[in-house]
Amino acid sequence: MRWFTFFCILICISLFQSTMINWINFGSVVPDLYFPLVVYYSFLVDIKRNTIANWVTGLTKDFLSEGSLGMNSVFFVAVGLFIWSVRGILFKGHFVTQIFVTFIFSIMYNVLYTLHMVISFRSLSISTTLWLIFACSLYTAAVVPILFLVLSKFQPTQGIFSIKDK
């Protein structure tokens, strides 16, 4: 894993997510471009680098988002560790697996995040929030094939699209 490439990718994703996301949103439904990055590196690298990469990704999202500082970094590290621990039993080279894993874990992450917000603000309506969680997770999962393809071009030595671990 090349850290320089990782930071470049992170800066590009942060820039796109914070400035140009209106180009690809559907009303309130926006994809979380950080999340595929978490899934990608959890599939890809060893646990130590995976944790650091996910922690940095979460902290970057925290810095550019309103809300508690450190919340996303904790969530991303937890999600990353969980994906890393189950990756052995997954056929991670197939794009359907990548989409499915991203969708499931994105829903889990969004549920946890909104639970934190419900406790903090008590202002979210259940139906709207559930719909937003589902739609945002689905949209996030939908951008995975494109994003994984782009990421694999920049990290070409990793072989994520191979069937077996190298």
Partner: protein, 276 residues
């Protein structure tokens, strides 16, 4: 690069320390006081702001360029009609300017009396939006004015003469604005037509909801909500939203009312900060 297979020994050796240290740092950050946390965020993201500003500028320019192409292609006939309307409106403006000059003299006299009674000075600072919130469930923007321009926390932010939010954190050259659609936002308001007192609350979607509207309140779809000066936080009579959905459910004490903010934040590029 070689990727290791998941094994317990790998987890125990060095990575466990890394995970613990990183989680500890996150927990420390989580329990920072909100003011300090905001200050840390603004300071750490300050070097990133010019990049965001440039990206936003490029994005807006590209968007405007494509919009122009489409508009030119589609609306050749409409353009001619609009030009006719413009010339008509220009004539109307000239007529009205004459009336304005007459009224200005009267207004100046009135203003002198008002100025003596005013204790709070209100200024406005124009600002460009340089970035949006990266979370799907929080609604905030970053603007390119800060304490250098006289902006302070809790200043009011408007666009098209309608309320869009308040300043939450201020840096030297940028500030974070919490929008009225953010779940943490509560705006005291009034229904323009019936004078009912309400609270406009954000819920992460493009719509807001009204809290504590009693069952007997007669609200209609299309009624306007304006800000109220109760609490002295927001200036009175700023347009906030329009009612789009109104339901009275079975045994609930209050009505379930959804409102659409007057300003669509994804369609604007600049705002006005009212400093006090």
């Amino acid at each position: 690069m070689r990727t290791s297979t998941p094994s317990f020994t790998n987890l125990i050796k060095n990575p466990l320390t890394t995970i613990t240290v990183l989680l500890l740092i996150s927990l420390v950050l989580l329990f920072l006081p909100p003011k300090l946390s905001g200050y840390v965020k603004v300071t750490c993201t300050a070097p990133f702001r010019p990049l965001q500003w440039a990206a936003c500028l490029c994005s807006n320019s590209a968007s405007n360029f494509f919009d122009k192409i489409i508009t030119t292609w589609k609306n050749a006939q409409v353009k001619i009609q609009l030009e006719e309307q413009i010339s008509y409106l220009k004539n109307t403006i000239t007529e009205q300017q004459d009336t304005i000059y007459k009224l200005q003299n009267k207004l100046q006299t009135l203003s002198k009396f008002q100025a003596e009674g005013k204790s709070n000075k209100v200024n406005t600072v124009p600002a460009d939006i340089i970035s949006y919130d990266t979370s799907s469930f929080r609604k905030s923007i970053v603007i390119n004015v800060g304490s250098k321009h006289g902006v302070k926390p809790n200043d009011i932010v408007v666009s098209d003469n309608a309320l869009i939010g308040r300043v939450s954190t201020v840096g030297g050259g940028s500030s974070v604005v919490i929008l009225i659609t953010d779940p943490s936002s509560r705006v005291p308001g009034r229904v323009l037509q019936t004078r009912e007192q309400v609270i406009v609350e954000g819920n992460s979607s493009k719509l807001c909801q009204l809290k504590y509207v009693p069952r007997w309140a007669k609200l209609k779809i299309g009624d306007d909500i304006v800000s109220s000066d109760i609490g002295g936080f927001y200036p009175p009579s700023l347009p906030v939203a329009t009612i789009v959905e109104n339901k009275i459910e079975g045994g609930s004490l209050f009505q379930s009312v959804k409102v659409l903010p007057k300003v669509n934040i994804s369609k604007i590029e600049s705002v006005l900060v009212i400093t006090r």
